[in-house]
């Protein structure tokens, strides 16, 4: 059997898992590992500039490629910095393997230099984690980590490896197969339940398909599109599902929830059957739960049984992988369902959409963020372009106004709502899709949270276009202060700002300040053509709000419409 040291084992495992790029940041306890990354030829190692960004980049890479994102960091502060990134991936079910160095086994528990209880800290925000106690178990743990990260409901897996293990020599035989007694995810849905579901769908008068991030994770877009085509059932999408259906699909009602469309929220309020696929009834979606889909039966399809009936009681649970379940369900509904039955319902919803469409008051005096987003889509004009956002008002405007056409083209921090996500995630996305445009919409607040990654982007020559929707406010917080705190703008005024042009130029990129429509069009066209790191600092209407809005805790049908 091949004898390798721990660090070499990691390289071999990553190779066998088909890893093409690793994001990392070195340090004392991870020195042996990084020394081996220097010697190997299997994968590209990208040095980010902060460990939080290391993980967001791996996350962005995973969301675009559908592969497991890999991050390597050192012990102590190196590891603690990753927690925000790990929690972000956990909330959105993104497959990651995060490897951290740890002080040597003999030093664990002595408060050694750069020691922290890493597995203790990561435990609540990972799918699973490991502390490697001896070299014999390392190959198995590496194999299991990748398997766990991508199987079932995907998620981040953390492996903490003491420094002596990274140097210790042992037998290396990488397991082909995993057989874990205690972990067997279910993929196929119960056939009886699926049959029952198709019967319920056929009998419903006002059904709604409610889809979430699970459809993207299980690559079920094709099956979902097929289902919608067969049944012509109106469909609402969560933030995480955007791109599953084309935005111009006639049965796509668009975004649901706090900033969802009127027709989508009314559909949910009046429906008699909710078919939920890969969504988890998040409070940003449901509003007041006692009023949510009050008249409806609930079919809930999810690979994670603990998601079912967590918030809204499901009458008809189906535990299984979305793709597998819809492969079974589609032929059944094709037989059972007559789309004409829902014609009245579709007409009602169409009327709702006509009465209260998504709209904004455009202006030639001051730039409206919604216009900027719509115009960006026209200029980029690439259905495969990857759109990334940070968190806040701009994120919701992108979700409302960007015409998504394909899955895995929208990257955003949904569950955790992590400011600082956009720039490093866009960077990771670009490594997964070198030939496609990557546009990062950011706020002027969040962009400063991981601004150091401009350096990583610049030195790797991966042009990311950053459109800063700059209202010199922490806009979303300001919006809440306007609506619910009598305009006391506590700690949200960002009037004093850095010179974003000089800033990006100092990293070797190009910057534009944009005040008019013409300036914006010109800047973005140049950016798309020039293919260098770009900042477009778009000065938008300072007091524009994200509308419509359901106030937190209110029923979905109680919307603020202007």
């Amino acid at each position: 059997m091949k004898k390798l040291n721990g660090s070499q084992m990691i390289m071999e495992a990553l190779n066998k898992e088909g890893v093409k790029v690793v994001f990392g940041y070195p340090g004392g306890a991870a020195l042996n590992i990084f020394d081996e990354t220097y010697k190997q030829r299997y994968f590209n190692v990208v040095l980010a500039r902060h460990e939080q960004a290391v993980v967001h980049a791996a996350d962005g890479y995973a969301r675009v490629s559908g592969e497991v994102g890999v991050a390597i960091v050192t012990s102590g502060p190196g590891f603690t910095n990753t927690i925000t990134g790990i929690a972000t991936a956990f909330m959105d079910s993104i497959p990651l393997v995060v490897i951290s160095g740890q002080v040597a086994n003999s030093l664990i528990g002595t408060d050694a230099f750069q020691e922290v209880d890493a597995v203790g800290i990561s435990r609540p925000c990972v799918k699973h984690n490991y502390l490697v106690k001896n070299i014999e178990e390392l190959p198995r743990i590496l194999k299991e980590a990748f398997y766990i990260a991508k199987s079932g409901r995907p998620g981040p897996v953390h492996i903490d490896i003491p420094k002596d293990i990274t140097a210790a020599v042992g037998d290396f035989s990488y397991p082909d197969k995993i057989n874990m007694k205690t972990y067997k995810p279910m993929y196929k849905g119960n056939p009886g339940q699926i049959k029952k579901a198709s019967k319920l769908i056929a009998e419903a008068k006002k059904p709604i398909l409610y889809i979430g991030g699970g459809v993207i994770n299980s690559n079920a877009s094709k099956e979902i599109r097929e289902f919608v085509k067969i049944t012509q059932i109106p469909t609402v999408q969560t933030l995480m599902a955007l791109g599953t259906l084309r935005s111009d699909d006639e049965f796509n009602l668009g975004l649901i929830g706090m900033h969802g469309k009127y027709a989508a929220n009314m559909a949910m309020s009046e429906t008699d059957l909710v078919i939920c696929a890969g969504a988890r009834f998040d409070d940003r979606v449901t509003g007041k739960t006692s009023e949510f889909a009050k008249f409806a039966n609930i079919i809930h399809i999810d690979i994670d049984p603990s998601s079912i009936s967590k918030i809204i009681k499901a009458n008809y649970p189906i535990v299984g992988n979305i793709k597998d379940v819809f492969e079974e369900l589609n032929p059944k509904v094709k037989e059972a369902v007559d789309p004409k039955n829902y014609e009245e319902w579709r007409k009602t919803l169409k009327r709702y959409d006509e009465i209260h469409p998504l709209k904004y008051q455009d202006s030639d005096e001051v730039l409206k963020p919604q216009w900027v987003i719509e115009e960006s889509a026209k200029i980029v004009n690439d259905e495969e372009a990857i759109i990334v956002t940070d968190v806040g008002q701009h994120q919701m405007w992108v979700a409302q106004y960007y015409p998504f056409k394909n899955p895995r083209t929208f990257l955003t921090s949904g569950g955790l709502g992590t400011m600082g996500y956009g720039l490093p995630a866009a960077m990771g996305a670009k490594f997964a899709a070198k030939d496609r445009p990557v546009i990062n919409f950011n706020g002027d607040g969040g962009v400063l949270m991981n601004i150091q990654e401009l350096q990583t982007i610049a030195e790797n020559g991966i042009p990311v276009i950053n459109i800063i929707l700059n209202n010199k406010f922490l806009g979303m917080v300001r919006q809440w202060q306007s609506m619910f705190y009598e305009e006391r703008f506590a700690s949200t005024d960002l009037t004093k700002q850095p010179d974003f042009i000089k800033l990006v130029e100092s990293f070797g990129g190009k910057g534009y300040v944009v005040n008019t429509k013409d300036e914006f069009k010109k800047a973005l066209k140049e950016a798309v053509e020039s293919k260098i790191l770009t900042f477009i600092d778009v000065r938008i209407d300072r007091f524009e709000n994200v509308i419509p809005m359901v106030p937190a805790g209110a029923a979905l049908y109680n919307m603020i419409l202007k």
């Binding site: 435990r123 609540p124 502390l131 106690k133 205690t182 603990s306 079912i308």
Partner: protein, 157 residues
């Protein structure tokens, strides 16, 4: 604690380090109650059995069992069925108090004297959780200086 909402769960877990903190962390992180928790290896296997007494309404309980299932080292979650549930109490009482009637008390709780020295007796009783509660109450008239109860262990029929 509302007795109606008292729930018993028996969990079979892989014997690996950190597994107990995964379980207790799940409860604390999600705001569920742990009324008692005991754990010990199952002889001649790679598993341990964790006995948990918790409380909450039906929905909370459903979530607890589902979330437990989700933890990777958990092999089996036994949440229903006829459990035989027993708890143990040790009570230290000073020899200086009037011990009249102690024998009858011990008899009715299937208790015995576990040990004694020149100053104290240690009484042991093993019974259902509610009976242990009343046993401890009864022992109060002997001015106990220390009481320890084990938490429940349980086995399904």
């Amino acid at each position: 604690m509302n007795d109606k909402n008292r729930r018993l769960i028996s969990v079979i877990v892989l014997n690996e380090h950190g597994v107990l903190s995964r379980i207790s962390g799940l409860f604390s992180g999600r705001g569920y109650n742990i009324d008692s928790l005991t754990v010990a290896p199952i002889p001649d296997t790679e598993f341990s059995r964790v006995s948990i007494v918790t409380s909450g309404d039906a929905r909370v309980f459903e979530q607890i069992t589902k979330q437990l299932h989700k933890l990777l080292p958990i092999y089996k979650v036994i949440e229903e069925g006829d459990f035989v549930e027993k708890e143990l109490a040790l009570v230290k009482i000073p020899l200086s108090v009037n011990l009249a009637g102690l024998d009858s008390v011990l008899k009715s709780y299937n208790g015995s004297v576990a040990n004694s020295n020149s100053e104290n007796l240690i009484i042991i009783a093993c019974d259902d959780s509610t009976r242990i509660t009343s046993f401890i109450k009864t022992m109060s008239k002997y001015s106990p200086v220390d009481i320890v109860r084990s938490g429940s262990v349980m086995l399904e029929m």
